[in-house]
Symmetry: C2
């Protein structure tokens, strides 16, 4: 288990239980499948979404038997999306472990992801009502839509900040939002209050992704090449780049982007143009703004120990060095 | 709509409605996604599974409002598996149309499949109870398990007929079985009778796949190269090959297979060895046996017009020239 939760032993214990439920849900397919999936589950992910779900339910009447299976389903689903993402990015490493697609092939990765999605649906409707299932399906649709929306803006130097935020809200923040909203509902908090939790999750998720994208543009030339290369080569323009394009009066950045077939020198040129055109500075301003929105949303939640922990987590997520 | 159903105008009309529900269920993602998915839906697939579902329900009290959405969900799910299959096979053409993965990339294909699966789940739990959802999830798990089970037998010259039948039962026949069982239940037939339908679907599905695999080994050298190449190169040994291996006393076939890196000459050598070692003859015997089981299962169903049509369909599916 990731050491991230060591300061919250009760939560750590809950998350260990969530992990056990995840493995139990995967069941006993052949070792050929079970082993890579278990490897993924054990690879040290922070389990943020289950943690936020559990903490949100603790604002009300916390019932682990109700809450932990759903936390497991959400994390399983998140795992499936990561496995599918790695196919697309042709990623070799995730969480310091070789990805399923690079170890076993894109075929196994596609089916493992499908298998996990199906198993998490089975878990949910064994344990919960139709409404819960509906919510999860809606989130999956939202996430897919967000992922796919990126494609409509591939190599699009006219992409605006609004488009970017919409994509991030769907592909990243939606599952945070759902985790917190659902946790609150499972703690028997009323709909109106639960929506505040959902809103907090959404803001945290958006801020988190913006910061992640900013971090891709920070560091040494070597680290820039590692982090920014994939997105740029696939034509995905993230916030620092989008902000820089707003100040690209001489069109140098746009011209370079429109060549599309980047080598490493081009990527470094792009990086330096993004800095020169204040892309990172402006993107950081958005990061600050959404971080403040996230904190403000958390302030609207009832005061209790769980809120303190949520604020703590949000702080450590969003105050990463950049 | 595929002309396959022209002789059954009522069924044709139902299937047109199913297609409309499928498109409605896909909803309004960006045209970027909707267009390839619609293209797949319109590409002339026979819609066998919805047809079998509808026909099965007509043995009882047929209620199109109950039946047609589920038929749409099953066909949507089938469509998603085809899209994912095409990624794995790197297929360029399906139903005489360019595949999603070859037109738009493996990334779009992965997410389109995920999107469709999520949408079909949403459709099902909007319209049906938990049990129905449970059944569909179980089928998805079964299909993924079947697909993945193939991988445990990749390049395995010790694979036996039993392993092959288990794989086929899961990856192909399970959805036929579910379509017929569920159709029967939606027509308010009792559980015991519905299981007969499920059994018939299972037998039809297994026979169908065996015949498909036999057909891959029939024809000219050119057509063999086209059909057998993919499976062989990926190490998937189908029934004609498995049967031939049982008679491979001099190990010539096994030795050739164990080289694994086949060029076209090797594939033709394998094909001719399979013929010489009676692989196709023996596989055809299995095909006949399962075809008879399929007809016998259909005979156990109550006599009515729908049974006549089902027998007709089964006949045309299983009496393909080989």
């Amino acid at each position: 288990m990731n050491t991230y939760w060591n300061k919250y032993p009760e939560l750590l214990s809950d998350l260990k239980e969530v992990k056990a439920i995840m493995k139990n849900t995967i069941g006993h397919p052949s070792a050929f499948i079970r082993d890579p999936i278990f490897q993924m589950i054990d690879s040290g992910g922070k389990m943020l979404r289950p943690a936020m779900l559990i903490l949100s339910s603790k604002f009300g009447k916390y019932d682990p038997e109700r809450v932990l299976p759903l936390a497991a389903a959400v994390e399983l689903f998140h795992t499936a999306t990561l496995i599918h993402d790695d196919i697309i990015d042709d990623s070799k490493i995730r969480r310091n472990t070789k990805t399923i697609q690079s170890q076993f092939g894109k075929d196994v990765a596609v089916y493992s992801g499908d298998y996990i999605i199906a198993r998490s649906f089975m878990l949910i409707h064994e344990e919960y009502d139709q409404q819960m299932l509906r919510n999860l399906s809606k989130k999956i649709v939202q996430i897919c839509t967000g992922e796919l929306k990126q494609y409509t803006h591939k190599y699009d130097s006219n992409i605006c900040v609004y488009d970017y935020i919409k994509i991030v809200a769907a592909k990243t923040a939606a599952l945070f939002a759902m985790s917190m909203y659902t946790g609150a509902r499972l703690g028997d908090l009323d709909e109106k209050t639960a929506r505040l939790f959902g809103l907090a999750g959404l803001k945290i998720g958006i801020a988190y992704q913006i910061i992640d994208d900013c971090l891709d543009y920070c560091g040494t030339d070597d680290s820039i090449l590692k982090s920014a290369r994939n997105d740029l080569r696939q034509g995905f323009y993230t916030l620092p780049l989008i902000c820089a394009l707003k100040y690209d009066k001489d069109n140098t950045l746009k011209t370079l982007l429109d060549t599309t077939d980047f080598n490493d020198d081009d990527i470094l040129k792009i990086y330096h143009l993004v800095i020169d055109k204040n892309g990172i500075t402006k993107a950081k301003e958005y990061a600050m703004r959404y971080t403040q929105k996230a904190y403000a949303a958390l302030e609207r939640l009832p005061e209790c120990n769980s809120r303190t922990i949520l604020k703590d987590i949000t702080h450590s997520l969003l105050e990463r060095q950049y």
